[in-house]
Amino acid sequence: MYQLNKVDKKFPGVHALKAVDFKIGRGEIVGLVGENGAGKSTLMKVIYGAYQPDSGTVTIDGKAVRFQNPRQAMDHGIGMVFQEQSLITNLTVMENIFLGFEQQFVRFGVINWTAMAKAARHQLRKVKLDIDPSTVTSKLSFAQRQLVELAKVLTLEERIDGDLVILLDEPTSVLAKEEVELLFSLVRELTSRASFIFVSHRMDEVLELSDRIYVMKDGEVVDVVEHGQANIDAIQHKMVGREVDKQYYREQKQHPYDSGKTLVRFDRVSVAGKYRDVSFDLHPGEVLCLVGTEGSGREAVLRTIFGLERPSTGAVAIKGNPFHRATAQEAVARGVGYVPRERKVEGIVNGMNVYENMTLSQMGKYASHGVLRIREEKALAENWIKRLSIKTPDVYKDCGGLSGGNQQKVVLAKWRSGGSDIFLLDHPTRGLDIGAKEDVYDMIREMCDDGAGIVLVADTLEEAIGLSHTILVLKDGEIQKRFDGSPGGKPSPFDLVHHMI
């Protein structure tokens, strides 16, 4: 039905798509996997009309089409559910659903809100979401928003007579397990009406949902796997182009921590409205993982250690000293390093180059009386680029132009080179491909061996379990359960989920 033949796309310096063949039949769910930079997002942009191919053809039911913009693609039944939250939060749910297509509710220039609400309810029913369509979107949970996005794309159903192709770009990244299940069952139901292209880093999900999986590497489709024959290891091998370490989470490198010393101590700490009565100790060499759903208070704990939240009761001590007038500067001075979830916004400064980013938290060490010693900064950057094999042409490269994995390495290099020994990692592998993830896992083990303590909020439960020495399960701001995560004695995801919800 929908087909790409020998589609080619070049950007200055990059051959992003090399003669890609791709097809999807009616009612199919097609998985698309590949490392970051393999060309997935370019391919998707070509499909939904944001990019135009340099050569090759796009056909729908055998007819050649060419989209100048996403709008034209939509008119041909192609819709996209975006990876990042793509609803406009200051608008109501119904406005978001019909954004750009309000004309159907307009009579004599006036929007008929009642009609729009009715139509919106109809769309929301398709995704089994029972909310008032005039709710302002910012009041919804992330999962609800994801469903609204799906509902929005499904408006194509009414608008288009022909077949629909819906792209789902990392739709599960912000969802909890049961929400993912809900989404998947919805998608399966909807195959009666639409075909789906499903893109995810979560290999198990792709395997579970897809009828066929396209594996991409370096701008090419290197393999097409049918549902029954799919095998995670084989696919990963194709994607990475080498054998994936069986010991994915580097458990063999997990060494016992030094319980004699304490880096961070929480003593019945509460932050009003965020969490209550949280107590724990973090020791050198320990990976302490906070597990819980969105809003369980896990991020707030990290932010408290970094001085961005002030405890309303209880005591925080860092390396034995009380942490009273908490500020981020104070935290950094005491050796705390923060790797935020929003890497592009909080992790690196887009617009500053590699060495500037690396020394940002520790400029004082490279300056005398406020005057920078730029030569030393560059030397430091070159050293860490080598040590962490960061892929960048030189130290002058704008960090905004690096790939996600390399950005994350720059962030880690910033803190490690600054001598931090307490690391707060908030979703450190989010959006990274397998190779980059492995690099991060290696680094975590390495840092532990150097005597650092790590507080981790992981991307997946498997990751949390695989990496940590200690797991704290949080629910509604309270610690539910503490698990020991020594190799051999690790809990199962089911054990954790039981306490999370």
Binding site: P12, P340, E342, E346, V349, G351, M363, L372
Partner: protein
């Protein structure tokens, strides 16, 4: 690709094209002595634009600068006899404090700098009107010559004003590109949240940036006051918009983090060339403002580097 590489030099190219264009139409424009004089005359404006650069570099704006300069002309004139050359400290201190107050209101009270600095400007204006007794004051000529006469001399044909401007430019450039403060400014301008997450004292840095713009406004006001040997609450009017335009034309966009003081130098020169071209090319008086606007649009269209602007707002 060659165009990409040329991008940082677009402001310079624009300047060169403008100078040559005006020179071709009226060769007397290219007379070196008068060019030097032309540049020397815009020193107060340039200093104000330098200060404005700091505010815009962190993504804000400082609309109080003109009123700070007004206040300083009055302060300088009133207290010159009493304090002599040390009146400079009083003036600069006043600029620093007002700028810091703007910064504090912006960063700690979440009032957008557009409004916060505008309002602080009103407060400074009140101060100027009160202190001047609502009159135009003139400086004591002897005290002026004794304390600040050196500002307007020449050494080997180079006006001292230019030397002062050069020193301040060097200082501002050094601050911007060689110090931890300048690096922090860039971080705040390009990615404030990342700067916070790196443990920078973002609030302090922003307050300091506004304090610096206030300080430069005060220096500009002081020089202007000495140059005119007097002060009143309206003396520096007309500086503000030109200073903003100079910064923007130089290629420091309002989004922050890009550009810098060297750009402001080019921007100021472009503005001044356009302005004096009006005189040199004998543009009709009623047409001048319209033509200024049109050339401005063209100049900005040529100079801004859009590669780092994801969305143009």
């Amino acid at each position: 690709m060659s165009i990409e590489n040329l991008k940082p030099y677009f402001p310079w190219i624009t300047l060169a094209v403008l100078v040559l264009l005006v020179g071709a139409l009226n060769p007397s424009f290219l007379n070196p002595a008068s060019l030097v004089q032309l540049v020397a005359d815009i020193v107060p404006l340039f200093i104000m634009a330098l200060g404005m650069t700091f505010a815009i570099y962190i993504g804000g704006i400082d609309l109080s600068m003109q009123q700070v300069a007004n206040l300083v002309t009055v302060v300088a004139t009133v207290y010159l006899v009493q304090y002599g050359i040390f009146v400079a400290f009083l003036c600069i201190g006043a600029g620093f404090v007002i700028g810091a107050a703007s910064g504090w209101i912006t960063t700690r009270q979440f009032v957008p700098s557009f409004v916060a600095t505008l309002a602080m400007g009103f407060i400074a204006l009140s101060g100027a009107r009160f202190l001047s007794g609502e009159r135009a004051l003139s400086m004591n000529a002897d005290a002026r010559d004794a304390s600040f006469g050196w500002m307007f001399g020449n050494t080997v044909g180079i006006p001292h004003e230019l030397v002062i401007a050069g020193l301040l430019l060097a200082l501002a450039w050094f601050l911007q590109s060689r110090t931890t403060f300048g690096r922090a400014l860039k971080a705040v301008g390009s990615g404030e949240l990342a700067a916070v997450a790196s443990g920078l004292k973002v609030d302090q840095i922003k307050i300091l940036a506004f304090a610096l713009s206030g300080t430069f406004a005060a220096i500009a006001g002081l020089m202007f006051s000495v140059k005119l040997s007097g002060g009143d609450a309206n003396l520096a009017n007309g500086f503000l918009i030109l200073a903003i335009v100079a910064v923007l034309v130089g290629g420091t966009p309002l989004t922050g983090g890009v550009g810098g003081v060297i750009n402001t130098l080019v921007g100021t020169l472009i503005v001044v060339v356009i302005r004096s071209a009006m005189v040199y090319l004998e543009v009709d008086a009623t047409m001048q403002q319209m033509i200024f606007g049109v050339i401005l649009i063209v100049a900005i269209a040529m100079t801004i580097d859009r590669s780092k602007m994801r969305i143009v707002k």
